[in-house]
């Protein structure tokens, strides 16, 4: 028994080391590692390049397709059609084409690479404060209330602000959470796979310029390729113009691409012109938020009244700076508040300034919190960061209900709703990242302080080895090593049950 325990402790150390080196999202150990930039610990599902200067969505395949289509079509046009047209008609054609092409490329890259207006997630203290306020508003029950909304009156129109469970904030009006990028984005328009990024407040004008200039470019190329064919056919005959082997593709490829693009891109430009002139987002238009069909008094509170002002505001208005400060350095832990003395309720939490929110679905998050709740009673006499656990609204269930379902083994007898912060659980969770079990790995991917940063209370060591625990012992708080393995087992048990 003892051998097994000491082995597990040794394994624990090894896996701790491997966790540190393998998981890139862990927060740095200030004493040893160099300072990290904030983009490296960004909780959303974005990809960063050039040391944080470029920010894109996770799936960029379609963006490369867009780029290739534009480059190939324009390349063929400039290499084969332009010399002929410059000769036959005027050299201004390639010049205009070139300018349009550069503008299209510039706006595309600007749209794709910039921050769309991502709202950074709430700091732990902010989240705790919001939770307290909501709790007070709901009468201080122990159960988490249904999805939270707040109503505000904007220019005479009542707008509901929704609470975002991932970002732990009340979304500002017109903001929306992009599930692909896992971020709340200000003035969220839509997530465009063609540009490989969300379209929001900060890059909407670039997006609009892109589709507008692309419409002009496709019409331009389409028109002049046809002109080339017509002129060629006058000289050599129609069929030979097309059959000309080296010249065949330069005709057909741009023609085909442009033909299909014209309808879609021009249509899209028209649609967005309408949206801009009425100061709506795609999101709002699709939902019919400001449609008169909803009610006689329903109007858009954000519109300036006339089309010209709306257009100017959208395209020439001030460009707000990025709120996420990608290239800033991660600073040392800022002072955190002590846990509240009257912590009755259990909510969701992030543990540190540099915590990462799990980039999995809400249900996985909620499972995590269930585990926290279950493991919380095992921890005594801890008081560091405030703990707030919650279940996600999508799963509907209240915390105690889920937890009771998930509880197994030694945890069943322990009551829920204890306010003691699971700082050690965080070390558990952190540690689990080293586990090869994909289920656990997905569940415990960070979100909490690293084992080093979590204060280790006496008797609550970092979790035991993730492998090879088959025993479920009773909660023996006197033995640190067995306590760890106990934690491991109960946590794993909960994980498996909760995932069902």
């Amino acid at each position: 028994m003892h051998l097994g325990v000491s082995e597990s402790m040794r394994e624990c150390e090894y896996s701790q080391i491997s966790t540190r080196s393998s998981t890139p999202m862990e927060t740095p150990y200030k004493k040893r590692t160099p300072k990290k930039r904030k983009w490296e610990i960004f909780p959303g599902r974005n990809k960063f390049y050039c040391d944080g200067r470029i920010m894109m969505a996770k799936q960029t395949g379609v963006f490369y397709l867009t780029l290739i289509l534009i480059l190939v079509t324009c390349g063929l046009f400039f290499s084969f059609d332009c010399p002929f047209l410059a000769q036959q008609l005027t050299p201004v054609i390639p010049v205009i084409g070139g300018v349009l092409f550069l503008f299209v490329l510039g706006t595309l890259l600007r749209t794709s690479f910039s921050d769309p207006g991502v709202l950074p997630r709430a700091s732990p203290d902010e989240a705790a404060d919001l939770e307290r306020q909501i709790d007070v508003a709901n009468g201080g029950t122990g159960y988490r209330p249904p999805p939270r909304t707040k109503e505000v009156v904007i220019n005479g129109q009542t707008v509901k602000l929704k609470y975002c469970f991932t970002c732990k904030i009340f979304r500002p009006p017109r903001a929306s959470h992009c599930s692909l990028c896992d971020n709340c984005v200000e003035r969220f328009d839509h997530h465009c796979p063609w540009v490989g990024n969300c379209v929001g407040r900060r890059n909407y004008r670039f997006f609009y310029m892109f589709i507008l200039s692309l419409s002009f470019l496709t019409i331009f190329i389409f028109a002049f390729v046809i002109t080339h064919i017509i002129l060629s056919s006058h000289q050599n005959g129609f069929l030979s113009a097309l059959k000309n082997s080296p010249a065949r593709y330069p005709f057909t490829v741009p023609l085909v691409v442009c033909f299909f693009s014209v309808w879609s891109i021009v249509g899209l430009s028209g649609f967005h012109t309408y949206l801009i002139s009425s100061n709506q987002t795609t999101n709002e238009d699709i939902k019919g938020s400001w449609s008169s069909k909803r009610g006689k008094d329903n109007y858009n509170p954000y519109s300036y009244g006339n089309i010209f002002t709306n257009c100017c505001a959208a395209l020439c208005g001030p460009l707000p700076p990025s709120l996420i400060d990608r290239r800033g350095f991660v600073e040392a832990d800022v002072p955190q508040l002590a846990p509240p003395t009257n912590g009755i309720t259990i909510y969701g939490s992030t543990q540190s300034q540099q915590s990462h929110t799990c980039d999995q679905d809400q249900c996985i998050q909620s499972t995590k919190f269930v585990l926290q709740a279950a493991a919380t009673p095992l921890l005594q006499h801890q008081s560091s960061e405030p703990v707030i656990l919650t279940t996600s609204p999508e799963n509907g269930g209240t915390l105690p209900g889920r937890a009771s379902l998930a509880l197994t083994g030694p945890c069943t007898s322990l009551p829920l709703g204890q306010p003691t912060p699971p700082t050690s659980t965080s070390s558990l969770s952190c540690h689990e990242a080293a586990d090869n079990n994909p289920l656990q790995e997905s569940l415990f991917q960070h979100h909490f302080l690293t084992p080093e940063e979590v204060p280790s209370p006496p008797g609550m060591l970092h979790c035991g080895s993730p492998m090879g625990h088959s025993h479920t012992t009773q909660a023996g708080f006197y033995d640190p090593a067995s306590q760890d393995s106990l934690h491991e087992d109960s946590v794993r048990g909960l994980v498996k049950l909760s995932s069902v």
């Binding site: 550069l102 503008f103 510039g106 600007r110 709202l119 950074p120 709430a122 700091s123 203290d125 902010e126 404060d129 919001l130 505000v152 009156v153 904007i154 220019n155 707008v159 602000l161 904030i169 500002p172 009006p173 017109r174 200000e186 003035r187 310029m209 509170p301 954000y302 002002t309 100017c312 505001a313 395209l315 020439c316 208005g317 001030p318 460009l319 707000p320 700076p321 709120l323 996420i324 040392a332 832990d333 800022v334 002072p335 955190q336 508040l337 002590a338 006499h381 801890q382 008081s383 560091s384 960061e385 700082t423 940063e453 204060p455 280790s456 209370p457 006496p458």
Partner: protein, 151 residues
């Protein structure tokens, strides 16, 4: 930005939320939080928040200057921002300076500290309330962590 008093430690944080009654423009609520009742005069607090609101309104104002800037930027393919700051950024710098000045003159002597909203994603104005401990406490940055390790 933390107070230099070695003896002060963080007691509480108050969050001034955004006021969306005028739309999506950046504006903070001027409601005086009860936690600050004993710490600072209502008028001083309201002045600070109102001044900040005015600064943000100036940054986001849509008028002749912003249009000019927008059109010029578009014409130069936004390359002009490599050498020039946007108006918004200029105003943000002014705000940072103002907050620092307010902290030095008014808030720090009362054991309070305002955090620039830009560091909180423009969601809240975070006001930290510090208590004078008197004993040799560690700096507030490590108090929570070291405190629990001691246990």
């Amino acid at each position: 930005l933390r107070p230099c008093h070695v003896n002060a430690s963080l007691a509480n944080k108050v969050f001034i939320q955004r006021d969306y009654s005028e739309g999506t423009t950046c504006k903070f609520q001027t409601k005086f939080p009860s936690e600050l009742e004993s710490r600072i005069e209502r008028t001083l607090f309201e002045d600070t928040v109102k001044t900040l609101n005015n600064y943000y309104a100036e940054a986001e104002k849509i008028g002749g200057q912003s249009y000019l800037e927008g059109c010029l930027a578009c014409a130069t393919a936004y390359l002009i921002f490599l050498c020039m700051e946007t108006r918004y950024e200029k105003v943000l710098k002014k705000i940072a300076k103002y907050i620092q000045e307010q902290n030095e003159k008014i808030y720090a002597p009362r054991g309070l500290l305002i955090t620039d909203p830009i560091e909180r994603g423009m969601r809240v104005i975070e006001i930290s309330i510090y208590e004078d401990r008197g004993s040799s406490g560690s700096s507030s940055g490590s108090s929570s962590v070291s405190g629990s390790t001691a246990r």
